[in-house]
Homo-oligomer: 336 residues x 2
DNA sequence: TACGGATGTGTGAACGTGCACACAGTAGGA
DNA sequence: TCCTACTGTGTGCACGTTCACACATCCGTA
């Protein structure tokens, strides 16, 4: 369907009896007489004129839009409420700066290519990238393009020139594992997930660090995703490997919730027989029975800061190299 | 930051020793000799040329992009996993047709205005609108613009000319309420939510319909959102109003989960003392204890169908008036 | 030989915008 | 009176692309 003919500055100019230039000045600022302005504004209102973004973008080389790229979000959208908070945080910050956030979802190879084209093609001035995986092709596209960008979390092979905001997964994981130790747990296992993402690797590293020499690789269950189902499977595996297990660090709250289910199945009490801790402090944490002790992840702030990193680059400010890590307080509830 | 100078068709043409027209033909099809094609493709690869979308859109009056507008998604993103599934379904369908889905989030009045400008400005060829409320200004913008669109769910004041896809909330709600009656429940209440959305109103209507003369307005708790916290509060209210209540229809699974919590608090067993049913068949349903009996909502398909409705309009096909309703099987589990 | 079709290439115009520039009028000060 | 500064307006050009058109070549056939 060809869109019907829409009004342009020419039409407005003709209707108001002035030239294109004057209309442009009303829209973008400049010297305009009161009568001319009134006539033009009336004409704009009458025909419902809206400037053509494509033309404006072409001329200005600025679209006032920033992409929010969610990579492989399948499990994220369905199980991890964090991405929603990150998105809303980013949107709020961009909105304040009068930029439009446009979210792009990358689920398939087909998506990757199309989104790369979209990012390259000048429809957006910058990009916020969430949950990139190691060697993700999108990373190459962005750095090759020199598109102002910010990552939420950092894949290990991220170029130094792209700023990121994240949390210190290693020390957060280490801290909550230590709390388990201090609480008197002796046989502590971990349900590790998403080991192809920085967050997954780092949480495992933190776990190892905290346990030191008492770390036992047999007590790590490696599951693909941060979701409930993975938690159930991971916990069953751990119980099988060592029935005497009395503490579990789950790589996410959703996993912890799944672990609780598997423990209930096996007739273990929480926190009596087994102490369970999670990660994220998502809505899962408070809806579990018992409520989860977990690491609070400042999801909304992550989005806000990432947006600001992009906005500052757009303003031409120099952004410091490397990343920014936000604090992650431990929230101690009932599950351990 | 001014983006650095990017390669254009002119540069490619010069590098390959041909004219702009020939480059365009390589990109868009047409008669090109093998040598010319090879030279141009080599040049494109070498400088990493990517066509400028803004220019293409301006000339073609087509952006190959479709907006996915999520209205007031705060609670949706955080508590209701449906929106994620709808999004992924829509993205898959659009991706197949080589269209880019761009999600726009509307949370504030500021957002409304900016998104309206974005939709009007030619950056997208069409729009999918999710969870519009009555008299939402976005509706007026879209119908005023004649932008090809499809709604997921239909606000009562939606113009007839805009197609929608949804579920029959009335008969679904009625059906599951009837199941409660058939199961022998006598004092049945409802936790009704979001009565400013079509879905909220219709679910309440269905509930009333099923109960007929035995409907008691005192047994309806009216809460603002489809979320867990509202469920807890709503259930407490119902227990207070009638301690003898033995059945509850919750307007969403999240609400039902909250209701279970409030019932546990009050020392009632489910389904022994009180039967609880939800709506959505979201991830909440299976993670509750006991698992929820609920109405399955085909979220992914809603997204797919909405995308197809937009795509068909873009192809110039006539789309039938009115809406399309997808089936909603009842999933009977343990909570009632 | 002359013609028509298929193949291949270059050129000009247009999409709708913003900005630089030119120009006109007015007012104030030297 | 002339110069300058300020206000207000119109015109031409460029952004990078696609498309219609003109033109050129080659081949088979009437």
């Amino acid at each position: 369907m060809r869109p019907q003919k829409r009004a342009t500055v020419h039409d407005i100019a003709a209707a108001a009896g002035v030239s294109r230039g004057t209309v442009s000045r009303v829209l973008n600022g400049g010297y305009v007489s009161a009568e001319a302005r009134a006539a033009i504004e009336a004409a704009i209102l009458e025909v419902g004129y809206v400037p053509n973004n494509a033309a404006r973008t072409l001329k200005m080389r600025r679209s006032q839009a920033v992409a929010f790229v969610a990579l492989e979000p399948h499990s994220l959208f369905l199980d991890d409420p964090n991405i929603g908070s990150i998105m809303l945080g980013a949107n709020a910050a961009l909105s304040l700066a009068d930029h439009q956030m446009v979210s792009l979802v990358v689920e398939s190879a087909r998506d990757t290519e199309r989104v790369a084209r979209y990012l390259s093609g000048g429809f957006v001035d910058g990009a916020i990238v969430v949950s990139a995986r190691t060697r993700d092709p999108i990373i190459k596209v962005i750095s090759g393009l020199g598109l102002p960008a910010a990552f939420v979390g950092h894949p290990p092979d991220l170029s130094d020139s792209i700023p990121f905001v994240g949390i210190d997964n290693i020390s957060s994981a280490s801290a909550i594992t230590s709390r388990l130790v201090e609480a008197g747990r002796r046989r502590i296992g971990m349900i590790a997930a998403a080991l192809d993402r920085d967050s997954g690797i780092d949480r495992l590293t933190g776990f190892k660090t905290a346990l030191g020499t008492s770390f036992d690789a047999a007590l790590v269950a490696d599951v693909p995703h941060y979701d409930y189902g993975s938690g159930v499977k991971g916990m069953r595996l751990l119980l099988e490997r060592d029935p005497a297990i009395d503490g579990v660090f789950a790589a996410s709250d959703a996993i912890a919730a799944g672990a609780l289910e598997a423990l209930r199945e096996a007739g273990r009490s929480v926190p009596g027989d087994v102490g369970v801790v999670g990660f994220d402090d998502s809505t899962w944490a408070v809806r579990c029975q018992p409520q989860l002790s977990t690491v609070h992840q400042p999801a909304k702030e992550l989005g806000t800061v990432a947006a600001q990193l992009v906005l500052r680059q757009l303003r031409g400010e120099q952004v410091e190299q490397g990343g920014q890590l936000l604090p992650t307080p431990i929230v101690w509830r009932d599950s351990a």
